[in-house]
Symmetry: C2
Subunit: 373 residues, 2 copies
């Protein structure tokens, strides 16, 4: 989408040097818009681990890029196969929850195993990275088209009043290649002239809602209001939310959805107030091997510094501020799992389905085999 009127995506090959990549360093938004260089596979690992890039689809694309860059920098120190397997394992260890990471890495590995020799492997790796990026861009656009009628229908009943959509964290274009997952129907609705207003959960501790979602919506001219993570229930109790759309880091085949910590609380509130609660995700975020999301999806525990310190602006300078007593103990779980029973429907690139195995497999019949353990 646009940044100051110019179109950007979240990851691309460096113009003039196809052996490096560039990304928007998302750690500094909305305070600074910084583009950084990924020179090699290690740079990609740290970009994922330290959340310069984040969001399930983008993590997958970046990890695929990491394998390609690993091939670009190969120097015979190791056998090629051992080297690539080591780099792949390293990349996969960067973050545990999003399934896209392992999925994208395996996809590239599968393709490069089909050919022999460094040059050919590098070439096919690059083709696969480009294919993954193209596919995720298209996935987002398709999710947008499938989700659009949900907003249109509410708009038609609201008589020119804006449709109020609540979202948690950032499942926007910054989490994907373009358009986003949860935001794709919102961008399309806005582009179709439908009045929308987005309640943006701040999303502690890393404030991806306040920093990324609000920023990208504002850049695109979509009215939005930041609220604390505590506020959504109150808004829903008082008829101020028409629907909820969130993203997903990993879904089980039964439709349980792991997403940013706090999503489950919003799903409970939506359920309690009869408000539709949608999870927007490309099929690359579905883990076809997992049936019980709550028991089987690994939940990342992150550094306590993320809660104890917050980034912002003091006296015109970007600073890191201590916001608890230094002695306080802190626990920092990154995700929670929303059980399928609280989800109205999944919005995928192939269409909308119920959060249950049969309904999901009707859209993705080619995956039936993968679901048989």
């Amino acid at each position: 989408m646009n940044v100051n009127g110019k179109h950007y995506e979240t990851i691309w090959l460096k113009p003039g040097n196809k052996k490096e990549a560039e990304i928007i360093d998302q750690r500094f938004l909305p305070f600074e818009f910084k583009i950084v260089n990924l020179k090699n596979c290690d740079d990609v690992f740290f970009a994922i681990r330290d959340m310069q890039v984040r969001g399930a689809p983008l993590i997958g694309a970046a990890a695929a890029m990491g394998i390609y860059l690993a091939l670009c920098e190969y120097s015979n120190a190791d056998t090629l196969d051992d080297y690539i397997n080591r780099k792949a394992a390293f990349l996969k260890s960067a973050r545990p929850t999003a399934i896209n990471l392992g999925y994208a890495v395996e996809l590239v590995l599968g393709e490069i195993n089909k050919v022999q020799g460094l040059e050919q492997k590098t070439e096919i790796a690059l083709k696969t990275v480009v294919k993954i990026i193209d596919k995720e861009r298209q996935n987002s656009l398709d999710i947008g088209h499938h989700g659009l009628p949900l907003i249109e229908r509410i708009s038609a009943m609201k008589n020119e009043e804006p449709v109020n959509i609540l979202t948690h964290c950032n499942a926007g274009w910054l989490a994907c290649i373009d358009y986003g997952t949860a935001t794709a129907p919102i961008y399309l609705a806005h582009n179709h002239g439908i009045k929308v207003h987005v309640w943006v959960d701040e999303t502690r501790p890393r404030n991806q809602g306040a920093w990324l979602t609000a920023w990208e919506l504002q850049q695109h001219g979509i009215p939005c209001t930041i609220i604390t993570d505590n506020a959504g229930g109150h808004l829903m109790q008082h008829g101020m939310v028409d629907l909820v759309i969130v993203g997903c880091d990993r879904a089980s085949i039964n439709g349980d959805a792991a997403n940013k910590i706090g999503t489950y609380l919003k799903a409970l509130a939506a359920h309690d107030n009869n408000i539709p609660f949608y999870v927007a995700l490309p099929s690359s975020s579905i883990d076809w091997n997992i049936t019980d999301g709550l028991k089987e999806i690994p939940i990342e525990e992150r550094n306590e510094e993320e809660i104890k310190y917050v980034q912002g602006i003091v006296n015109g300078k970007t600073e890191n501020m201590l916001i608890t007593s230094p002695e306080s103990k802190v626990a920092n779980y990154g995700f929670d799992v929303t059980p399928a029973r609280l989800i109205t429907a999944l919005i995928t690139e192939k269409g909308i389905c119920k959060p249950e195995k049969n309904s999901i497999l009707e859209l993705f019949p080619e995956k039936i085999e993968m679901t048989i353990k």
Copy 2:
């Protein structure tokens, strides 16, 4: 309770000058422990409005103190009755949600109306303030004694493992005179040698959990861990919370409880995971005239700066940091209402009761008259 080993309460008459009061300025905790002087009624108004003091019971006590200080500074500019009524209305306008504010002001007004003359009125006002403070201290202690067996019972089943209690915001001694409401059973359990551990919700936007609750529990030696407001649901899903205890700013006679924004979300999660959810409150927080909490309790909307800026420490100095884009729109609701159906029981100074009219009135039969509109 103790601060660095010395016993403090939250409000007291200034030693050596009984025409002024002193409070702990809670806006600077846990970074600085500051005691400030309240010289007159206006000082009290600003202390309540700007949250130097907060918490329903403490707001009530402070407002009562405000009437007394108003009498101390009376200077014949107005008739005494007009003057006092004006000051009372002013104090009551400081914050809208907690019922204790109006309740305490009316209590003092009722007493001073029984006597004639400035001197007598001042004397009886002081007596009433002291009575309110004594009563709230005793209320907290009684709430503690009634709540203690709830923790003891769980402890007995846990075989020496700590009882994990989740709380939201600060309903600790800092919100009261001493002991607290939600924390009173926790302090007593700890003092009785029962192993407890408290999950402290950060409580955005003003971080009263991270700043006040964690601080006061740590000062008393009670193990606690700060979590984001998003995390409680995940902990409850995974058996890491044994019970929830929160405070209350105003309860309806049917047991709906207004408390810090986000409480409702935790109640939903507790309900979804069969975890007992208790609201601890003195009867001074019950609004005997309100039956439907959701419709009738006014919810304060506060300044957007509270969300856009956060206080903390940068380079050893206390600073205010901008944590959103300056252009972002923000909405800041202070409270939400947890419907009675999600509350296991109320813990009051007279005992434990179901969150429903008959059960509440069994403990407070003297209030039956007040509930007939």
